[in-house]
């Protein structure tokens, strides 16, 4: 919403502030000023001069030499503009003054253009006569200005006076960010009311005088509202004997400052009232309304209608239409029809001031793909009482401007009267909500400034219908806070019962996971939760796989963001790919984020959101690097049991010979492996990629933060080494299972210290060597004890067909 300071001042005459003061104070009272533009920026030493004499320039055909009376003296100005004549009054910038821009109307330089006296082709020039562009404005705002020439001031301008003042350029235009609850502030009157309250000045809203001749509108037009649910109020008035002409300068300037191009008096009046009251107005050509009738009703499904922009549009039953006796003539609140639009031939006009259901207008505009200035206002939900006031204001302006003859009377179909809301006032409660001690009388003073009524008997605030945002005491508290000043409210800390600050258990575990991943060299990545269904193909997921059962988004930004991910690999592989293709070497990334598994599709309840720790690397590191991070994490999480790795698992995105499920206490808690080379190709990664994924909800139940000290061993350990040749398909894990199960109580640890596969070994076999450590807590082990334990282990290994080497 844009509004000029001068327009608001018209309703708050005592308002005397700079643009910056206005900006700061209005922002703090709740009408946020996003930016402002001072129209007199860089306009210095510009006064009214009168051209007394014009002579040809002796040395240049395209220049003239003017003698200009500037009051106390006459100065000589050389100019190339040829639209001036002797006797004209013009804006003159004196030596040492400034103008805002060049005569070409291009972008205004930040510091303006300094004007100095000097010689033009040998002839002294003491200043410059200005075009409207040089004054920083445009012909949009000053349509009477000549194209490419000096602006000619009115004949009654007084020589030597401030020309900037005369042109109304000592003004500023503000851009407001109005919050959606303050529909009333999408109008100059509403903003002026706020300004008056903010600066504690008198507010003088426009006074709407009765208008109209002795005739009766009922003799001209009939109105029928069939769908009153979508049109709570419809007002119509008729103006005949239209005399189209430009509107007066004051109106044109106010419209231009609001960003609206002046057109003619009738169009300008409707636009002016829309800005002033925030109420869109529509004008129909009376002679084009068949049967001189207006019927407001829903469109028929599939109706074709040509809007005044020439487009043919298809309606549906939820779009409200304005009809005459025979046909549709306008989409209510959105845009009029080609068939009833105002032309220069207009003789009689029907003004519409209506209130339509905001939600319906918003939804209709969206379905039709036609969002207009009017629909933008209506969709916020307008006050039906403003419609009545605005249409009368328009007719008053028609009379003031002599734009036509207003027919007496008004048609007003107001099916459900909007009543002011009454809110119980309780100063103590307001103070206890705000943490203040503001006297009740002071609060009531604020309400008065805002035109809120007050019922002393019942101690109730009466919110006028234009204030649709006031319903409860908290709303009143905000009004008090705004005008008491948020700045003046004390700052305290909550008292009351102390609470313990902490992370949830899940977040504590996640924090450890992040720490372990980072200490292991992995950096944290963040990727989107939604992705493309094509991801499943890239990851080689079979067609009927359950992972393809993803939650779809109804209105995605595109196919690439259309489903909620069911596995976390795509994000990580995409990030690794980005790095790889930017030639970053040795990249290790991890992500801790959710996947979304639907319990059923279509979704009837929320999906299962499962947080996944995903590790991935290329370059330095391998399978056992990511395996190491998994085990470091389990260690830190107090998961002391043996972790098992199950290579026989269904992970199509992993290398078939380099993959495993991670099994803890019989439960698959994740998987790891080398990414299948075909998948890596799909992601354009030309290197081996290793990844591990932990399904954290499965890990968390095993987490144990309890720690108990077990005593540092006092008695010596005994080491025994064994070396064996085993068939390749026997896994180290199976051998370790035997050692762990058969080592007995005295087994302390075991460690693989040699692994060899090659020519010296029987084909299809490998050689493994373990160092096994035994220790007792309470005595020095005897040879017999150790040998007994070793014998058990060796027996077990032999049963597996393992040959021990000497």
């Amino acid at each position: 919403m844009n509004a000029a300071l001068s327009w608001m001042k018209a309703y708050v005459p005592d308002l005397d502030v700079t643009a910056q003061e206005f900006t700061d104070a209005m922002t703090l009272s709740g009408s946020k000023v996003e930016s402002y533009r001072c129209l007199d920026k860089n306009l210095e030493k510009i006064i009214v001069g009168q051209i007394m004499k014009i002579e040809r320039h002796p040395n240049a055909d395209k220049l003239i030499v003017c003698q200009v009376d500037i009051g106390e003296k006459t100065i000589q100005i050389v100019t190339g503009a040829l639209n001036v004549k002797e006797g004209d009054k013009v804006p003159v910038v004196l030596d040492g003054g400034k103008v805002a821009g060049g005569h070409d109307g291009g972008p205004l330089p930040e510091d303006g253009i300094k004007i100095k006296k000097g010689k033009l082709r040998g002839i002294e020039s003491d200043g410059m006569m200005c075009s409207i562009e040089e004054l920083g404005s445009s012909r949009d705002m000053y349509p009477e200005a000549p194209e490419m020439g000096i602006y000619i001031l009115p004949e009654d301008a007084s020589v030597g006076a401030d020309a900037v003042e005369l042109l109304g350029l000592h003004d500023a235009v503000f851009e407001f960010e109005i919050t959606s609850n303050r529909v009333d502030c999408y109008s100059v009157v509403g903003l002026a009311r706020e300004a008056a309250a903010t600066f504690r000045k008198e507010f003088h809203p426009p006074v709407v005088e009765p208008s109209g001749n002795g005739e009766n509108i009922e003799d001209y037009v009939q109105v029928e509202v069939r769908d009153t649910d979508l049109c709570p109020r419809y007002c119509a008035r008729v103006v005949k004997n239209i005399k189209l002409a430009p509107s007066p300068q004051w109106m044109q300037r106010r419209l231009a400052a609001s960003g609206i191009r002046p057109i003619n008096n009738i169009v300008d009046i409707t636009n002016y009232v829309m800005e002033e009251y925030g109420q869109p107005m529509h004008a129909f050509d009376y002679d084009l309304l068949a049967g001189h009738k207006i019927i407001v009703k829903r469109a028929g499904d599939g109706d074709q209608f040509q809007t005044l922009d020439g487009q043919l549009r298809t309606m549906d039953h939820d779009v409200l239409m304005i009809n005459d006796a025979e046909k549709e003539v306008g989409i209510a609140g959105i845009m009029g029809g080609e068939n009833s639009k105002i032309t220069d031939e207009i003789k009689t006009v029907v003004f519409e001031g209506a209130c339509f259901d905001g939600t319906n207008i918003r939804l209709s505009a969206k379905r039709l793909g036609l969002r207009t200035e009017a629909s933008g206002k209506y969709e916020k939900g307008l006050d039906p009482n403003t419609a009545f006031e605005a249409i009368n204001r328009a007719c008053q302006l028609v009379e003031e401007l002599g734009a036509g003859e207003v027919v007496g009377g008004i048609i007003d179909i107001y099916s459900k009267k909007q009543e002011p809301v009454r809110v119980k006032f309780d100063a103590d409660k307001i103070n206890s909500l705000l943490g203040t001690q503001i006297p009740a009388e002071e609060m009531k003073g604020y309400f008065r400034m805002l035109d809120l009524g007050f019922d002393e008997d019942n101690q109730e605030v009466i919110a006028p219908t234009f204030r649709q945002d006031l319903h409860c005491l908290a709303d009143l508290a905000e009004e008090v806070a705004r005008f008491f000043g948020y700045d003046n409210i004390p700052t305290t800390l909550p008292s009351g019962e102390a609470t313990t600050g902490k992370l949830s258990y899940k977040l504590r575990v996640e924090e450890i996971a992040r720490d372990v991943a980072e200490f292991s060299g992995f950096s944290q990545s963040m990727t989107y939760s939604f992705e493309s269904p094509k991801v499943f193909d890239k990851l080689l997921i079979p067609q009927n796989d359950k992972l393809r059962q993803a939650v779809p988004i109804l209105n995605p930004l595109g196919e690439d963001f259309s489903i909620m991910r069911t596995l976390p690999l795509n994000g990580l592989l995409t990030s690794l790919s980005t790095n790889y293709n930017r030639r970053n070497k040795n990249v290790k990334l991890y992500e801790l984020a959710n996947i979304y598994l639907p319990k059923s599709l279509p979704l009837s309840e929320l999906p299962d959101e499962r947080i996944q720790l995903t590790l991935g690397l290329y370059g330095e590191g391998d399978f056992f690097t990511v395996k190491g991070v998994v085990e470091e994490l389990f260690d830190k999480l107090g998961m002391a049991k043996r972790v098992h790795y199950q290579p026989d698992c269904d992970r199509p995105y992993l290398h078939p010979g380099r993959k495993a499920d991670i099994v803890y206490e019989g439960m698959v808690v994740g998987y790891l492996g080398q990414i299948h080379p075909e998948v890596a190709d799909n992601y354009k990664i030309g290197d081996r990629v290793y990844a591990a994924v932990l399904d954290m909800p499965k890990v968390i139940p095993f987490v144990d933060f309890d720690r108990k000290y077990t005593g540092i061993a006092k008695y010596p350990a005994v080491n025994r080494d064994i070396s064996m040749v085993v068939p390749r398909e026997i896994l180290a894990g199976q051998i370790e299972d035997i050692i762990a199960q058969r080592g007995g109580k005295i087994l302390e640890s075991y460690k693989l210290f040699d692994l060899y596969e090659g020519s010296q070994i029987l084909a299809g076999h490998k050689s493994l060597a373990y160092s096994i450590t035994f220790r007792a807590k309470d005595h020095t082990l005897t040879d017999d004890e150790v040998s007994a334990a070793m014998k058990k282990i060796l027996n077990g290994l032999e049963k597996m067909g393992i040959q021990l080497r000497a």
Binding site: S180, L433, T499, S529
Partner: protein, 339 residues
């Protein structure tokens, strides 16, 4: 005899003097003081000495022995010292050669900012909780005083799954979920992912993070809200940070405000970060709307509260001077390494 002793002594001392290695010293010891050493043989020839002379000669031999031993020890120590010095000289390294780093990974800037926010609020007694990212519209909207057909539900802002379920467009539904649990008082923050239908560009992302805050107790005031958030700003942006509260509108708070913090780049003088205003918009906040309290089963006559929501990316971008939001989701290691 005496001359012989003198000669042995002189000779031994000279040899010791000339020694440049520990082994040589040992040889000398054996040659003179050993069982078959020269001095020992002198002692052995004592039987040829007149008995009255013997003590005197014995003394002389002992003196010579002591002298040689002392000299041996002294020289040995000197050689050891020399050897240590030699070792130290040999072991000089170029301390400016590259360090061997463990190459620890880096946290995402969002996480760095979040940890900071969590640290501050946990210190003030807030619990960190979470809520679902795919959320019932009832929690995302209705219970936050955004009834059906409210423009805020418009498709342009929210991703929908079906008429009941959407991707949460804010962390505020966690407010409603926490209140519904009925455990009072409440002091919580809820960080998490949120989703809005914004095309990806330098300042927008369809997925970003917020941190919600909620305090519900008896006698909580707008003044408490101001005090708490001013404290947060000082901790987050520096001790000298000032805050400014501007009235605003959110459906689920009343009164509502936006909080600006004095620009932490220029200190409020005006620069490109604050677009010359000296202030940076940081968060939205307000007193929990009584209607919301009621819908979540809390008696607004008994309890009041405040709530706030901070955009994590906004803080990360401002604090770390990141000029393009897309960098946050590309995960280029050269970017991540800076945090």
């Amino acid at each position: 005899m005496k001359e012989q002793l003198e000669r042995i002594k002189e000779e031994a001392l000279r040899k010791i003097e000339a020694s440049d290695a520990l082994e040589k010293l040992n040889d000398i010891r054996v040659a003179y003081l050993g069982k078959k050493g020269e001095l020992t043989s002198v002692l052995k020839s004592m039987k040829n000495v007149a008995p009255e002379e013997r003590p005197k000669v014995g003394q002389m031999v002992n003196d010579a022995r002591a002298l040689i031993e002392a000299k041996l020890e002294e020289t040995k120590a000197a050689l050891a010292r020399k050897a240590r010095e030699e070792q130290l000289r040999r072991e000089v390294i170029d301390v400016t050669l590259p360090a061997k780093k463990a190459n620890i990974g880096h946290s995402h800037p969002n996480m760095v900012a979040l940890k900071e926010v969590e640290r501050i609020f946990v210190g003030m007694g807030y619990e960190v909780v979470e809520g679902p990212e795919v959320e019932y519209q009832d929690y995302n909207f209705t219970k936050l005083n955004i009834p059906p057909n409210h423009p805020a539900r418009d498709e342009q802002d929210t991703f929908f799954i079906n008429p009941e379920i959407c991707l949460r467009s804010q962390t505020s539904p966690v407010q409603a979920r926490t209140m519904e649990k009925g455990k009072l008082p409440i002091r919580m923050i809820a960080p998490g992912r949120v989703f809005r239908a914004d095309e990806v560009d330098a300042t927008h992302s369809p997925s970003f993070h917020q941190v919600e805050g909620l305090v519900i107790d008896k006698r909580i005031t707008l003044a408490d809200l101001k005090g708490t958030l001013a404290e947060f700003a000082r901790e987050m942006f520096g001790e000298d940070s000032k805050v400014k509260f501007r009235p605003h509108h959110f459906p689920f708070t009343e009164p509502s405000a936006e909080m600006d913090v004095s620009c932490f780049k220029c200190g409020g003088k005006g620069c490109r970060f604050c677009k010359g205003s000296g202030w940076i918009e940081i968060l939205g906040c307000g007193m929990v709307h009584p209607h919301v309290l009621e819908m979540c089963g809390i008696d607004p006559e008994q309890y009041t509260g405040f709530a706030f929501g901070v955009g994590l990316e906004r803080i990360a971008l401002l604090k770390y001077e990141i000029d393009d939001m897309r960098l946050l989701y590309e995960n280029d290691i050269r970017f991540l390494k800076q945090f």
